[in-house]
């Protein structure tokens, strides 16, 4: 890519270091259930202290992958290395991983403190040590006043915290979180996301989270692996996943995006200048500043995020390319943003989002208006997959 991606400063990026040793390594992992292949020849490296997300729709194999790391499933082929050691065949109760279950799986017949102490008791720690660690965990998740309660006497958010405290109590090398915030309402979920990041940072643990919620993955992760039908489509930082998806699938799965199919008309790569690809998207000429592996004549897709499309009533100066003319067909008011659905003459819909920067009651653009949509050369991208 000509332009390296944005100035997202990262001090923590072991995956860019060729000498870094992965903490967890999935090596040619395949998992089959009868005829169904849940995970197909998958390779993945996760580094120490990383907050890593497996993201994908249900049935993509992300939970299977996590359960193989916890030891509840054995891979059909391939092996899993934890700190360089093959952990195949090690039963779950001897693995240095702990898991927070989607259903929380709190023991209903034990009090909160008993739940948290359960893992510690298996290690034959002294009573004093266990009590001290339980107190520490209760403090960490701010549930000191609820130690004697049974899980049935807690709200959803409190149960989630108990589950987190219980899985953290043994200081696992890796904490696995299966849809950890799925059962919480939106507000609580957002708060908890930041708390999770905070706890992960404070304790310096490696977190592996499985989720189908792209916003959650974007917020908490150092890196995200987007999965589809048992394979990883892309592994990257949240910003790269959002701004430089490597395929139609990832682009469409993460956030909102306009995708237009088209063909490559020409490619230019002047020395000293950014390479430019010119496309024809069924009559709509588009130029994109991007390096592209596809050649002239190939069918590709042009993708652009709604917030990168500018919407105006006046005709812009240059309408030769990267400009479309259409009618406002619908407006979605989201509070912070308004999304305009603009219908082109041939019926295609392009979405443009505009930040609602002032509290104007009168908005200049309304239903039925004829508008111009424009975007700069570096706003969209060409997807070959």
């Amino acid at each position: 890519m000509a332009k390296t991606l944005g100035p997202v400063k990262r001090k923590f990026a072991p995956w860019t270091d060729p000498n870094a040793v992965p903490f967890i390594r999935f090596e040619n992992i395949t998992k089959r259930y009868g005829d169904f292949t849940a995970v197909s020849n998958l390779n993945l490296d996760i580094y120490e202290r990383e907050f890593f997300s497996l993201l994908g729709p249900s049935g993509c194999g992300k939970t299977t992958l996590m359960r193989m790391l916890a030891g509840f499933e054995e891979p059909t082929e391939g092996r899993i290395l934890l700190q360089g050691h093959d952990i195949s065949g090690v039963p779950p109760h001897r693995r240095p991983t702990n898991m927070m279950f989607q259903s929380y799986a709190l023991f209903p017949h034990m009090s909160v403190e008993k739940n948290i102490a359960f893992g510690l008791e298996q290690d034959n720690l002294s009573k004093g040590e266990i009590a001290a660690r339980v107190q520490e965990m209760l403090k960490l998740v701010k549930l000191e006043d609820f130690a004697k309660r049974k899980p049935g006497q807690l709200s959803g958010g409190q149960r989630q915290r108990v589950a987190l405290a219980r899985s953290l109590a043994k200081r696992p090398k890796v904490l696995l979180l299966d849809e950890p915030l799925g059962a919480l309402d939106r507000k609580l979920r957002e708060e908890t996301q930041f708390e999770l990041m905070d706890i992960q940072h404070t304790l310096g643990l490696t977190f592996l989270i499985v989720t189908h919620d792209q916003e959650e993955a974007m917020t908490v992760s150092d890196r995200i692996a987007v999965m589809d039908k048992g394979v990883i489509v892309q592994v990257d930082t949240p910003a790269e996943i959002y701004e430089a998806p490597n395929s139609r699938y990832v682009a469409d799965f993460i956030g909102d995006i306009n995708i237009m199919e088209g063909g490559i008309v020409s490619k230019s790569a002047e020395p000293g200048q950014a390479p430019v690809v010119t496309l024809d998207c069924d009559g709509l000429p588009v130029t994109v500043e991007q390096e592209c592996a596809a050649t002239t004549g190939d069918r590709v897709a042009f993708a652009i995020r709604p917030e990168k499309v500018r919407i105006t009533l006046d005709q812009p100066e240059n309408t030769a390319s990267n400009a479309a003319y259409g009618e406002v067909w619908d407006i979605g008011y989201l509070g912070d943003f308004s999304v305009f659905l603009v219908s082109l003459a041939d019926g295609r819909i392009i979405r443009a989002a505009q930040a609602n920067v002032s509290r104007l009651v009168d908005r200049p653009i309304t239903f039925g208006d004829m508008v111009w949509l424009t975007w700069p050369k570096d706003a969209g991208l060409v997807l070959t997959r």
């Binding site: 030891g71 779950p92 109760h93 693995r95 893992g119 006497q153 807690l154």
Partner: protein, 272 residues
């Protein structure tokens, strides 16, 4: 909807049909007359005589021991069978096994009793206390298996996975997590097994031997010689025991339900 006058009538008739025979039996157990069908005033003499009837008391004691023992063994075996049926997704002969566990439920007792008798004769065991106990274990374990199986079907397996994930070996997990949670079903299964063993006549009469006469056999053989008010007395005591058991069980489950509701109230207050 307006309730019709017809409803209470139907209800009364239904209950009368169910309970009048039992009420008559209870009333006549307090009869002073020796004739079962003629009321001769209130008396507790049949209870006293029942108490001093050594044969009846021996039979009651045998029945109690058989019932406790066979219910306990049947509960252990039945619970294990239920675990195998629910937990192991596929093993050779699973369909056959799960079909076979229901078979004794629908099998005529005469056939069960006869086949067990033939088995004991073939093996050459002396019939008596232990053969009755084994026979009762065989048929009560199916009932336990079915009660426990239905509980296990709704059991959240992630609880066991969580325990193992936290370092608890599988067998310990069963005793620390699974068993405490399915205990109400196991206890219910035990009580069912106990009651079934207590009132079984057919299978016991096939498999028993000298010196191990159970109460139902004793009652049945005495009635053939004519109903004495003593029988009424012991039956009244049996009815009393069963009633206490049923009421206690339903009170216990009611209390669990109440506690669950109270927990939820606490949770709602806690979350606000």
């Amino acid at each position: 909807m307006k309730s019709s006058r017809f409803d209470p009538v139907v209800l009364t008739l239904g209950f009368a049909f169910l309970y009048i025979p039992i009420i008559i039996l209870v009333i006549y157990s307090f009869n002073a007359s020796r004739l079962v069908t003629v009321w001769g005033g209130f008396s507790l003499q049949w209870y006293r005589e029942m108490w001093s009837n050594q044969g009846l008391m021996d039979a009651a004691w045998v029945t109690a021991r058989v019932a406790v023992l066979s219910a306990s063994i049947g509960t252990v075996l039945g619970t294990m069978a239920a675990l195998a049926l629910v937990r192991y997704a596929r093993f050779p002969g699973k369909t056959l096994f799960s079909g076979m566990i229901y078979a004794p439920l629908v099998m005529p007792e005469v056939i069960t009793g006869l086949s067990l008798l033939l088995l004991f004769v073939a093996v050459g065991v002396d019939r008596g206390f232990w053969t009755v106990t084994i026979a009762h274990t065989t048929f009560t374990m199916c009932y336990v298996a079915i009660v426990v199986q239905s509980r296990l079907l709704t059991f959240d397996r992630s609880l066991e996975e969580a325990a193992q994930d936290l370092g608890c070996p599988p067998v310990k997990t069963f005793f620390k997590i699974t068993l405490p949670l399915i205990l109400p079903a196991v206890v219910a299964g035990w009580m069912l097994a106990f009651t079934l063993s207590l009132d079984d006549l057919v299978i016991a009469s096939f498999t028993t031997g000298p010196g191990a006469t159970t109460l139902p056999i004793k009652i049945y053989s005495q009635v053939r010689l004519g109903v004495t008010p003593e029988i009424n007395a012991i039956c009244t005591i049996l009815i009393g025991l069963v009633t206490i058991g049923v009421v206690a069980a339903s009170l216990a489950s009611k209390r669990t339900e109440l506690r669950r509701i109270r927990d939820e109230h606490v949770a709602l207050r806690g979350s606000s």
